[in-house]
Point group: C2
Chain length 225, copies 2
Amino acid sequence: MSKIVVIEDDRYLREELVKTFSEKGYSATSISSFNATESDILAAEPDLVVLDLNLPGKSGFEICKWLKARASFPILILTARDTLGDELTALGLGADDFLTKPCHPNRLLARVERLLQNYGKVRNLIQAGDLILDLDTYKLIWGDYHIVLPETEGKMMQLLFENSPRVVSKKALASFIWGGEEFVDENILQVNMVRLRKNLAALGLDNLIQTERGQGYRLEAGNES
Amino acid sequence: MSKIVVIEDDRYLREELVKTFSEKGYSATSISSFNATESDILAAEPDLVVLDLNLPGKSGFEICKWLKARASFPILILTARDTLGDELTALGLGADDFLTKPCHPNRLLARVERLLQNYGKVRNLIQAGDLILDLDTYKLIWGDYHIVLPETEGKMMQLLFENSPRVVSKKALASFIWGGEEFVDENILQVNMVRLRKNLAALGLDNLIQTERGQGYRLEAGNES
DNA sequence: ATTTCAACTTACAATCCTTGTAAGGCTGGC
DNA sequence: GCCAGCCTTACAAGGATTGTAAGTTGAAAT
């Protein structure tokens, strides 16, 4: 059965949620320490995340955005703050649904069920800014346009997505694409970078990938908050 | 701007909704006669549909299912019947969101905005039963599994999807795939059918496409209501 | 201004995937 | 058993993708 991870700092509600999901047959867990929240979530390999916005330390918005850039599970925001602004922000960052507390368990379950069914792990989609990348086919979506990249270029895109907007070294790219330990030829990487950039330009994305001389490449994702 | 079509039999609410959307800059229209609802909607080429469940004649559920099999725009159900069962049914049929009347305009707008942004026309997805087909890449999704079909097989799938569960003649398939008027070779169609079936079997979908001797092929989509 | 090294660019050939052709085998209904 | 309709397999042409080779360009430092 699907695995759900609950991110909620109120202990009572957290356990209530886990119980609700468990009773419905889901494998539900939660995170109780919020030091390395994001990586803890990734490590748990969830099929869906229920995320509170008010957490000690980092904001739920940040976590949502971070996760969406490197994983494809749906994120359901569950918050006490009933602001339309919050809802718009969350949905803009890629959140898949937005419910306010208190929330009837059946309503929550219905939404979770739908997300798992419709937008679940099957669609390997990751997101950076206003770009979406399908990891199965390397279809890149931007606004009304899309393009299907060949595998090598798609993998480059993937690693750049996952680290956006940080710099990715050529070494990291090469080992991600070809898996090899040592880094024999650096020319082939550049060739593929040219090809990728050409494909992106055809889409209208001209300066998406920037070169950091001596360090590597960086993807500056588009308009977001 | 995106085009929204409102399907609602209550005249007052219908005009209210159209006005709400228009003021936000959408191109909103509605349908006032419900004789050929489904084809009217398709003919309007919407980017999103707001659909009431209680309509004179056919049920909203039927319309939702029919549309999802041959178009890729998101469908938002807006209904007065606040039953959890309805919500589950609608979402199971592929509806993308579910709101109950009365509904604050801002809430509705926020949801519409999200659907257009996240799951809009960009992703060319059509649905038949529990299967999903991406028309850009011909990625076929079934539960936890997926496969990427080559173009020819993907097109076969598409036409079978759009007519499911009715029979599609070989002639129709051939002219859909190759466009030609006359139907020269029928062997190539069978070859591709074998390949498609082999690919489906690898996914676990063994008897998905049935042969109707002398008539054509038929796609019997999986478990649904 | 010159040097130097990283980054960029283009052309070409090997490889793999997809497609159509060909030829024969199977099957259900009469 | 016969025939039309359907299925199956093997093969070759064509195209897309990938890596190789061999340069040219450009920016920082002297």
